[in-house]
Symmetry: C2
Subunit: 279 residues, 2 copies
Amino acid sequence: MNVAECAQLALLLEVAGTPKPGNVDRCREYPDLRFEHFLAGAVGARPGLEAAADPDGPCVGESFERAVAGMSQQSGGNTQFGALLLVVPLARAAAAGGLSPSGASAVAEATTVDDAAAFYRAFDHVDVSVAEPPEGWGPLDVRQGSDAVAELRDRGLSLYDVMAASAGRDGVAREWAGGFERSFRAAELIEDGDGPVTDRAADTYLELLAEEPDTFVAIQHGEAAARSVVGRARSALDGDLDPDALADDLVEEGVNPGTTADLTAAGLFVALARGTVSV
Amino acid sequence: MNVAECAQLALLLEVAGTPKPGNVDRCREYPDLRFEHFLAGAVGARPGLEAAADPDGPCVGESFERAVAGMSQQSGGNTQFGALLLVVPLARAAAAGGLSPSGASAVAEATTVDDAAAFYRAFDHVDVSVAEPPEGWGPLDVRQGSDAVAELRDRGLSLYDVMAASAGRDGVAREWAGGFERSFRAAELIEDGDGPVTDRAADTYLELLAEEPDTFVAIQHGEAAARSVVGRARSALDGDLDPDALADDLVEEGVNPGTTADLTAAGLFVALARGTVSV
């Protein structure tokens, strides 16, 4: 499989893995955000993923915007925004021959204000829950979408700059600023796992969930809620709590560790593109 | 969504629908043929589907061969051969502006010996369970793959001719020879259904299964077994048998009504491409 195919398959395998407590998976859905929305999101994202996988293609930001525009051709809303924000730069790194923390960092650091502008335009396509902007960044709140682009150009900020500014509260931005550390860790967990790839994805998700508070949960429900999920995931890993019961409970509570799912998708992409895991 | 995207999504929605007694679905797998193999099959098929959706692209047979070659980049074996054999000509009809029984028939009837040769080459990519060849067709047994192409060219047979000769025992070939009648019927059932598209797909599958013996079951287990499945599906539709129990039983028995799944995928494609159903 080529890089774009690995990227699309990573999105599909991520949502197929079950149980993935708090997220839509093969066995659990929210009434308005269903498994089929993720399938359609992955289908629509493909042209953007192909752009990302072309080293001579449009810039990373534009590839991402294209992927998000395609992903949004379904009625469930935001399905894979965060996953794409990780997989797109990783796909570009893979296409450029550097699918490693340093190769991915090089892609991130090479972004310009054009990448940042395209990133902001991506918010025009779909509603995304995000953290409040960092201090002094009010005019650059991503929820303004393309309306913030003029200010962005005035300040001359690259997409890497934008991500670095949010790294404190957003787990996806933290990947951009930190060599995609947890994405590569997820890949290693998947590679070291047992059984079918979807099972490894679910196991890896739970492991990541037990390691660090999910920033998407923190944004939606607060830091305390995010820390509580870490503890419950740890209990599930230790055998003190049935992961399926935890999955049912979190869906019931509307607690959705989406960033951990994004990291799982990124790890799946890395493992598939390295060829260390296959279906 | 464009035609190729509708085609890829149809493959994914088909396998996601559950319960789909006897077939791999979101909740049921065979040990060596799992849900993830179907996801990867749909990912790999995309370039062939894009070729099919391009009215100026390669011929229908070549588009099909390309889709099958891509589909086969996974270790589960034949996942969507029959579905692609229906979706590819329907996609070409849609792209040419004629997604109707007559438009699809026109695509089928316009095929040449080149389409037939590519169809035979497709069997080089994957093992497919097929019926014994019709009388006088021994040298053209599809299981010979590309080795049969010289004989095919000697006889000057089009892909439509090949399909028409097998229409008696193969439900997919029967579609080619008969205006894709059950594919369009499946689309109507999906359009008239209730709830999420994956649920409609599962309901439609059961309805089709109760209507006519599945030819893939007949090939693998005999006519009596195929007729028995019709009766059991009818009982499930009538509420006398739990569809989930029937699904578990058929998987246990290794009875796989694959042609009915193919028809469901074709119906999904038609409904999505007509825009009468969306995700």
